[in-house]
């Protein structure tokens, strides 16, 4: 009896061994990926424990003493953090709405444009800014809104006086939204254009026979046609609402205004990494941000499913 079991087990091990042997080259190819994901993704996940520790660089993550939720209390009692939190919510949600509307509008206009050459040229022009870095775009914003820049010159031509935009903190919110649309609307439209191209042509033909005009066709065929894509992209963008464009804001905002017009990520960066808040507090904020993002995605996904749409989870 015993012998039979052992023999069975051995043969199973041997089978497993030959299976492994047969795919040894594929496993050889995947090993670097496993190493990279463990080192650069899973070890930082373990690093989240710093949120519950009083981190001391000399002792390392393991050696540092636990301090419960003290880091979180320290953050939540800091009014500057709540300013950053409020800014993040405003900037993130306005950006989702305007970038969605901008992309759909550009896609609709391009889709309706029947001059093929012009369409191609315009598409090339409007998608290009996506490939600029925020460093360059920030350079453009600063040059256009500078004291001697184009906008001030136009103001002067119309009899106004030059304004020092950069000194006004509310200018930065406008700059975030405008530059985001300028840079991404054209690129964002591509996906909607592709979806529009996939809408069956017979629907439009049927509408033609029924005597529908172009606006009616857009409203009753094109827009419902892109709805599933739009909802999918919206759900995905909700996950990034609390990220709100870290690299954009790092480039557009002078450091001295970070506390007034910055976001959660810039708060972590300038208070924990460059500042004196300590790694524990910074990690705690990061964790807080991830948890809220996760809840937001789940909630929006549920709502979409309740409304009869396909979710992502």
């Amino acid at each position: 009896m015993e012998l039979v079991t052992i023999a069975k087990r051995n043969s199973r091990i041997r089978k497993f061994g030959t299976k492994l042997g047969r795919s040894k080259y594929l496993i050889f190819m995947i090993i670097p990926a496993i190493v990279f994901y463990i080192v650069f993704n899973y070890i930082p996940m373990y690093g989240i424990t710093m949120a519950f520790k009083e981190f001391n660089p000399r002792l390392g993550i393991l050696g540092s003493p636990w301090n419960g939720i003290e880091n979180f209390i320290a953050v939540f009692e800091e009014p500057k953090f709540w300013v950053a939190f409020k800014n993040t919510l405003i900037i993130g949600s306005v950006k989702i709405v305007i970038s969605f509307l901008g992309a759909v509008l550009v896609a609709l206009l391009l889709n309706e444009l029947r001059m093929r050459r012009t369409k191609k040229t315009i598409q090339t022009i409007v998608t290009f800014p996506h490939f600029l870095s925020w460093v360059v775009v920030a350079g453009f914003v600063i040059s256009i809104f500078a004291y001697h820049g184009a906008i001030n010159s136009i103001i002067e031509i119309f009899g106004g006086t030059r304004i020092n935009f950069m000194k006004d903190t509310s200018f930065y919110f406008g700059a975030y939204f405008l530059s985001d649309i300028w840079k991404e609307a054209g690129w964002g439209s591509i996906i909607y254009l592709a979806t529009m191209a996939g809408i069956p042509q017979d629907q439009y033909e049927a509408a033609d026979i029924d005597g529908a005009n172009r606006l009616q066709k857009i409203w009753h065929i094109t827009l419902p046609g892109i709805k599933p894509t739009a909802i999918l992209l919206l759900i995905m963008s909700v996950g990034g609402v609390l990220s709100a464009g870290f690299d954009q804001i790092l480039n557009l905002t002078p450091e001295m205004y970070m506390d007034q017009v910055g976001i959660i990520d810039t708060y972590i960066f300038f208070h924990s990494i460059r500042g004196t808040d300590g790694a524990g507090v910074g990690t705690a904020i990061g964790l807080f941000k991830s948890v809220i993002s996760f809840i937001l995605v789940i909630t929006v996904d549920r709502i979409a499913k309740l409304c009869g749409e396909r979710g992502i989870i």
Partner: protein
């Protein structure tokens, strides 16, 4: 060429002539789009005019739509600026070395994950997918880089970026869509997985490789964030964009005295901006379709 011809053929010749005529609405749409395109181009033009104007012209004229006093000293300065050329060198290392490195690891991972049924494949796949939704956050990552001793080295801008999950999945889906019979017949002929990958699947996926490679190349050309966060002491390791960033933030932090433009930094900065974007402007119109293909394929399959 042939494809263009097919594109131009009328798909529905049954359409009434009323439909094919250019209507009022078409003109409105065209005008709106042309204005939009103009607004996209304007910052480039404005920056270009500032970069070739003299300081005097910039400060006195109302709206610089056309260069009034030509002055190329900004470009002379840019081309003799050691810091910019140093940054250019680092960026070229990232562009060539980094792109090759990322392409290699992303593609072999995508291939391995596209083949059916090897032991542990699902586990690895799930392990990778989880990282798309959860992450440690900025601080644990910063701590990791510090522990690995990569602070203030060029490696921090290259090594961690080995595999881009989104592009890897794109590649995986592409490999999976190729017919499996090729692999089976090659196996019968005695080829192993590496030979099959190199001799059969790689040559078939060159367009996809070009798409992904271009995205990596643009990312490396625009790279500044890693340098900004992790390279704080070795300024000689800064890539081009980071050097440019320091020049721009010098202007933007000069808020209190907007009138005092020291050494005409505006013109110099705009010239440097052109130094960094002209290569992309030259290539983009020809490569646009690869980029578009990447996002469209990714959206439909991913």
């Amino acid at each position: 060429m042939k494809k263009d011809l097919i594109d131009r053929l009328p798909l529905r010749n049954k359409r009434s002539s009323r439909e094919n005529r250019i209507q009022g609405l078409d003109i409105v749409i065209c005008v709106i789009l042309v204005i939009y395109a103009f607004l996209i181009i304007f910052p480039f033009w404005n920056a270009f005019v500032i970069s070739i104007s003299s300081e005097n012209a910039y400060l006195t004229s109302n709206l610089l739509l056309w260069p009034t006093e030509l002055d190329l000293s900004a470009y002379k300065e840019v081309f003799s600026n050691d810091q910019l050329w140093g940054g250019f060198g680092i960026t070229m290392i990232l562009l060539i070395g980094g792109t090759t490195y990322q392409l290699f690891f992303t593609v072999i991972t995508g291939y391995a994950l596209s083949r059916s049924n090897w032991t542990g494949k699902n586990l690895v796949m799930n392990m990778i997918l989880v990282t798309m939704f959860f992450g440690g956050g900025l601080l644990p990552y910063y701590h990791l880089i510090k522990t690995l001793g990569m602070m203030d080295t060029i490696w921090v801008m290259i090594i961690p970026g080995a595999i881009d999950t989104f592009n890897m999945l794109l590649m995986r889906n592409y490999f999976a869509s190729l017919p499996k019979e090729m692999e089976e017949s090659a196996k019968i002929d005695g080829a192993n997985d590496i030979i099959i990958f190199v001799k059969i699947f790689l040559p078939l996926s060159l367009p996809m490789l070009a798409t992904i490679g271009l995205f990596f190349a643009v990312g490396n050309w625009n790279s500044w964030y890693n340098a900004y966060v992790f390279i704080t002491n070795r300024h000689d390791l800064w890539p081009l964009q980071m050097v440019l960033r320091t020049m721009i933030s010098k202007i933007s932090s000069n808020i209190e005295k907007p009138d005092a433009v020291d050494a005409f930094s505006q013109g110099l900065t705009m010239a440097s901006i052109f130094f960094t974007i002209v290569p992309m402007m030259c290539f983009y119109p020809f490569l646009q379709r690869y980029f578009v293909k990447g996002i469209v394929v990714g959206a439909i399959k991913g």
